[in-house]
């Protein structure tokens, strides 16, 4: 798990009177107010391109919880931090969404949201008290994670994740989060993390032998948008702090990757290798991701981002929500 910054955006699906998510939320609220009934099923409008795009902009291509790489054909699930089954009024709130792998979402988390023993989940009437709810999972946005709660021991044989805080509340959350998401006990995850760390060590060895390309590569892999980037950032901080990329550099790499994906999509379509709705959906998601980065950049300015992506694409993404 790593710290995430949630962009300040409002997305058409969740905001507009005609937006599917907005309408569903309104229907649910009305049903509650009229007859006290809570919804039993939810349309998956969180998969609309604007919502997914905004999550890409925020996450890169790694799972919010386990940091595993989201392969291209597992685009990641839009995950409700507070499960919609109970917190139904948060089903269509961007603040409640993360992008996670299907394992974390569907097998581990499901409709579970652990709380301190003896406390009850908040009800709709108590919705304003969310900030004080005694949850037991770390919130990647609200809790400072890397350097504050969790630490990946890159030098450990199986690169264990350990609790790294004195704060009693955060420590309890960190402990539960490690257990809950099997950060140290899911074999596939541990294997992937070991692979990323040993791969980076190999790159450091190449740098040591005078290979400058390896320098660039290890820096890219240590980006916070890259899978297990935090483990590598910790490694670089310990061994070669001068190699740590700054935030603007990280954002640039991520934006470049999104732009390259768009170009690849165009190329595949031109050559007739991809057709149909999937292409449009993927293109739309990528454009929305760029739109959100541009709208509320975590570092630097809109003008800089426009200069990165060029005038044509700037026009496209600016026009998305006008």
């Amino acid at each position: 798990m790593r710290t995430l910054r949630r962009p300040t955006v409002s997305l058409p699906t969740l905001r507009d009177a005609a937006g599917k998510g907005y309408r569903a939320a309104e229907r649910h609220r009305n049903a509650w107010e009229e007859s006290g009934t809570t919804p039993s099923s939810f349309g998956s409008h969180w998969n609309e391109p604007d919502v997914r795009g905004a999550l890409y902009a925020m996450h890169g291509r790694s799972c919010a919880y386990c940091q595993c790489a989201l392969p291209r054909n597992d685009r990641g699930d839009v995950e409700h931090f507070r499960p919609k089954a109970h917190y139904w009024w948060l089903a269509y709130r961007f603040e409640n969404y993360f992008l996670s792998c299907s394992l974390c979402n569907r097998i581990l988390k499901r409709e579970i949201f652990p709380l301190v023993a003896g406390t009850q989940p908040l009800t709709y009437a108590q919705a304003s008290q969310l900030a004080t709810e005694q949850r037991l999972l770390l919130d990647p946005v609200d809790d400072l994670i890397a350097g504050g709660c969790l630490r990946t021991l890159w030098d450990h044989d199986v690169c264990k994740v350990v609790v790294d805080t004195e704060d009693a509340v955060l420590s309890a959350r960190a402990t539960e989060t490690i257990r809950f998401f099997k950060l140290n006990t899911d074999p596939a995850l541990v294997k992937e993390r070991i692979g990323v760390v040993t791969g980076a060590l190999d790159l450091l060895e190449r740098i040591d032998n005078g290979d400058d390309q390896a320098r660039e590569e290890v820096r890219r892999r240590a980006s916070r948008f890259a899978p297990h980037g935090d483990a590598l950032r910790q490694m670089l901080a310990d061994l070669a702090p001068h190699l740590l990329p700054d935030e603007e550099q990280e954002l640039r790499w991520w934006v470049d990757e999104l732009v390259a994906d768009l170009a690849l999509l165009d190329q595949l379509e031109t050559n007739g290798l991809l057709v149909g709705e999937d292409v449009e959906r993927q293109r739309s998601e990528l454009c929305w991701a760029l739109h959100v980065v541009w709208l509320d950049p975590p570092v630097t300015s809109r003008a800089t981002i426009e200069s990165w992506i060029g005038a044509a694409l700037t026009n496209t993404i600016r026009a998305l929500d006008s």
Binding site: F42, S44, K84, L103, I107, D202, I207, R281
Partner: protein
Amino acid sequence: MLARNERSALIVWDPTSKRAHGQIGQIRDLVSELAGEGVQVETMMSSVALPQQTLIPAIREADEVWVAWSEEGPLTSSLQLGVAWALGKPVRLVSRFAEAPFMRMLLARMFEETSTAEHGDLRVFQIDDESRIELGSASTAPTGTFVVGSRSYEDHLSGIRPSWRFIDFDVENTTPEAVQRDLVTAFDSLRQAERLVWILHHAPATDDAVIDCMRAFVAGCFLAVSNTAAQVLHVVRWSTTIGLPELESLTSVIDGFDDLDTVLPRDEHAGDALVVESIRLEDFKSIERFQLDFDGESSLTGDWTCLAGINGAGKSAILQALAIGLMGPTLGLELGSERMRSMIRRGDGASGRARIEIGVRHAGRPVTLSVRLSERVGIEAHAGDGGMFRVWDDIKNELFVSYGATRNLSSYRDTRYSGLDPLVRRQMTMFDPLTQIASVEVLLDGGRPAALGTVVRVLEAVLADNELALVPRVDEGQLVFDQDGARLRTWELPDGFRSAITWLADLCVTWHELHPELDEPVDPATLRGIVLLDELDLHLHPSLQRALVPRLREVLPGIQWIVTTHSPLVLSSFDRHELVLLDRDVEGGVRELDRQILSFSTDQVYEWLMGTAPHSAAMEKKLEKVAADGDATEVALLMYQSEDLDEDKARQKLAHKRDLVKKFKNRGVS
């Protein structure tokens, strides 16, 4: 024994009607009470499906006859009524209130006056004497064969037996006068009949069924007034699958009809196989609401639907609902009303009734089959369209088979369900996990060479180049498998092959049971039908898991397959339009697939589609120890091993990593 001068009342009832069992005691009490002192009350079972030799003398002996009416078995009751009425006995019908509406309709159509009396929750109907019609008397010696049955069979029968004469009723007749005119005409003919073929239609409780009951009534009258022993009522159960042992016993009863199976038309709509197009469920088992159209356009050959999803998503329930809906209420009841009740969803917001609606294409027309499961009656037809009863009739002649998750074959015989209708037996493994498949006897004892020949053709295609070198063939009338010189019977096959081979063989044997005229093995591509298969991957050898679906697409392209599976290897054999991913979190219960998974690796399928971790729990246990501060060396070594790294190389790699860590920690990286 009756004492001299003592009157007798005979209650006749249908033992195949499950409800009659429950009320016969009550009816007996009522009859005893109404008949008064000194009347001996007897009961007698009879059914259209049973020989009638005992019924007629018993009724002849009785002074009054009470027909215990059941809406479930109106043909039997009509036949009993016909016999009693033709013999001039005072006849009354008695039934529960809830059972009576169809009887009321029938009586109103046939007789001008009936009187009704209520006794508790029973209702008694009596045909008034003035309402009786005179039967004509035979003017000539009996001759010829008459057929009582729907005109729709006349074309076919007249081609084969031009001398046969047809007797039927005008379905438009709704007034008692017109119906009685028809009845008199019918009796005039029947007086001259030497023998009678009655084409028995399964009669569900609809208005159309009134005509069926009138035919049964006439058949009963014919029985009663036949005055020579040579005259025999031939009951041909039209809608029962031809070629079963049942037919053989029937044929032996019917002298002179040894070529009966050529008399019966095979299939009114040959070539137009029944196809399932949609299903809608409410409160069925754990499913609150579910809807699915089987209309996905696939890029692959064949008609396949594969239901996927985590355990508990309702895959098996959907197959069971399909089986019940396609069998219909009468046969569904053979599964037991308790079983039906147990399938009603309980809990929050449950309506207390389950609904199954299945859209099918039958003889080129769309028909909605609709049944309801309820506490009161278990299962009943409910609010579908009129054509559904015809579908439930005709499906008995179709290849429709279900294979539940525990289908299998061993060398023992399971006879618990041998009394059920063949169509029900063919779906039984879907409902009773300990059942053997329907054709078990053929697979154990051998069967028709033509059927086994077809089995071999299918198995040859499916088993081509199999790893165990199994070669199917027929040896002395039995299905056997050669394997490196050894000869295996079906139940001796390796586990990974036995299950699939068993149900495939059953499928082919069933086809031949339905088509006894086939003397030679057939091209499997000519098979048409519906197969419901739970857990296609069950017990399946991994090599078969990859190959089975693609091979079945080729060898049995005429089957509509509706299957479930857990196997990623099987799942990635499907086009996304064939896959139905059940997900309770999604409105409508089905997650839309926005990509093809034909190229997915098994890991990707596991995680993306099934939501299951693609690794063993053993490794997880070891990791838990390390997480709790155990020594990491052993686990690290396991982690480093892969397709590319054997144990020695993994050890070297771990050592190298430790060296690098130590080196860089000492002096950093430039």
